[in-house]
């Protein structure tokens, strides 16, 4: 057998390097360091339209991530989408009249839920509902509306010129 002491040392180095690589993948590459895991509270919000929003999308206030979307479902009675937001324990002071809107980061970026605090004294607790909501903007609808209004505008100015 060859030198068993150096063999053992090298195996130790190998296992340590493998563990270090896994650790690096966990801490540096993946989202473990930014994840808000245990702790925190859930609030729900109803939106007319949540297109583009996904589970694990960010919940932001003033551009700071305060939580994640944990569940999206559809309410068949009110025909609205019900979004469950999980907000971290550090952010317990949102007033009950906080408004939630679905926003886009950048022109074509990801959707996220933006929270805008109101002025009430009482704060949101676990299981509360956010009543003031604004749905996500749908680019196709906006372009359609824009084209439609442009077209009707063009017609009326044409009509004016011909008179």
């Amino acid at each position: 057998m060859f030198h068993s002491r150096s063999v053992e040392i090298w195996v130790g180095v190998f296992i340590a390097a493998g563990m270090a690589a896994l650790f690096m993948l966990a801490m540096k590459v993946s989202n473990l360091s930014t994840a808000t895991e245990t702790g925190g509270y859930d609030v729900t919000a109803k939106f007319q339209n949540v297109s583009g929003l996904k589970v694990r999308s960010a919940v932001m206030a003033s551009g700071v991530t305060v939580g994640r979307v944990t569940h999206i479902s559809y309410d068949p009675k009110t025909f609205e989408a019900v979004v469950t937001l999980h907000i971290g324990d550090d952010f317990k002071s949102f007033p009950t009249d906080t408004s939630a809107s679905i926003l886009t980061s950048g022109l074509l970026g990801e959707k996220y839920v933006g929270l805008e605090p109101g002025g009430e004294e009482e704060v949101l607790k676990n299981g509360d509902t956010i009543h003031l909501t604004q749905s996500s903007l749908i680019l196709e609808q906006m372009i359609g509306q824009f084209l439609y209004s442009k077209a009707s505008e063009g017609k009326s100015t044409d009509g004016g010129a011909s008179k």
Partner: protein, 259 residues
């Protein structure tokens, strides 16, 4: 016509017979694993031969694969002004696919072929039957430690490969091509999920470790005890392991990321 059918039938039966022998050997090896634990020295020696000696090739290829990924993806992404997502693309490609798969292919060439040749030669020189004469079970003494070493080394090697690849992509992307350093890491952390991406990559490499070690050991144990038989078994190890890994990778990817 009849002889042709007979040949077809025989080759089919042979294939099933080999599969049956391989499955039985797999069960025997699994049964032999508990007896390895009190003799960790055997396992350490095999970890050295299988794992430590593969580190250099894993490091070099991981670095270069990461650098090539950085270079190629940058050229594509920069057309869309999306070079800031170089980090997540490189990391996801490595962690989900290339890390486990390329490591398994390199493992088959570097360690699997060595395992087959070693066991095949042990059989050809009647060391295995000599052990049986001395009432030492070669499955517990020779095969189980090698299997366990392959199974344990693969996820570690794959993790090293992915980590080094991400660093290689960083060198090329940030150092050479001028991607913003902050967006490389922060977008990566934003998009790569620990459980969904990193852990599924580890599961993949565990599966590949079982398959690669199993095929290598079976081919060696089942080799014809001649020099030609050993050489053929070594070739078969590399070919079969590569095919099995690539096929299994598709199935695992479909199961893990297919929704």
């Amino acid at each position: 016509m009849i002889t042709w059918l007979q040949q077809l039938g025989r080759s089919g039966l042979d294939a099933f017979e080999r599969l049956g022998r391989a499955s039985l050997l797999f069960l025997y090896i699994l049964g032999g694993i508990p007896s390895v634990l009190p003799r960790l020295r055997l396992l350490v020696q095999q970890l050295f031969a299988v794992g430590v000696l593969s580190i250099v090739i894993i490091l070099v290829s991981g670095l270069f694969v990461g650098m090539v990924l950085g270079l190629q993806l940058y050229n594509t992404l920069v057309d869309f002004g999306a070079e800031s997502s170089l980090g997540p693309v490189v990391a996801l490609t490595l962690v989900r696919e290339l890390g486990p798969v390329v490591t398994a292919l390199l493992f088959a060439g570097r360690a699997g072929s060595a395992l087959t040749a070693e066991i095949g030669l042990m059989k050809a020189t009647e060391q295995l039957s000599g052990m049986e004469m001395m009432a030492v079970d070669p499955i517990k003494r020779v095969l189980a430690p090698r299997f366990l070493a392959g199974f344990l080394s693969m996820p570690l090697l794959a993790a090293i490969f992915s980590a080094v690849g991400v660093i290689g992509g960083y060198f090329v992307g940030v150092g050479l091509l001028g991607v913003d350093e902050g967006s490389y890491w922060s977008q990566m952390q934003d998009k790569v999920d620990l459980h969904k991406d990193v852990m599924n990559g580890v599961i993949k490499s565990l599966v590949f470790g079982v398959v690669a070690a199993w095929i290598a050991i079976f081919e060696g144990y089942d080799a014809l005890p001649t020099s030609e038989g050993v050489s053929r078994a070594t070739t078969r190890t590399v070919v079969h392991t590569s095919l099995a890994v690539l096929g299994l990778d598709f199935i695992l990817t479909a199961l893990m990321f297919g929704d």
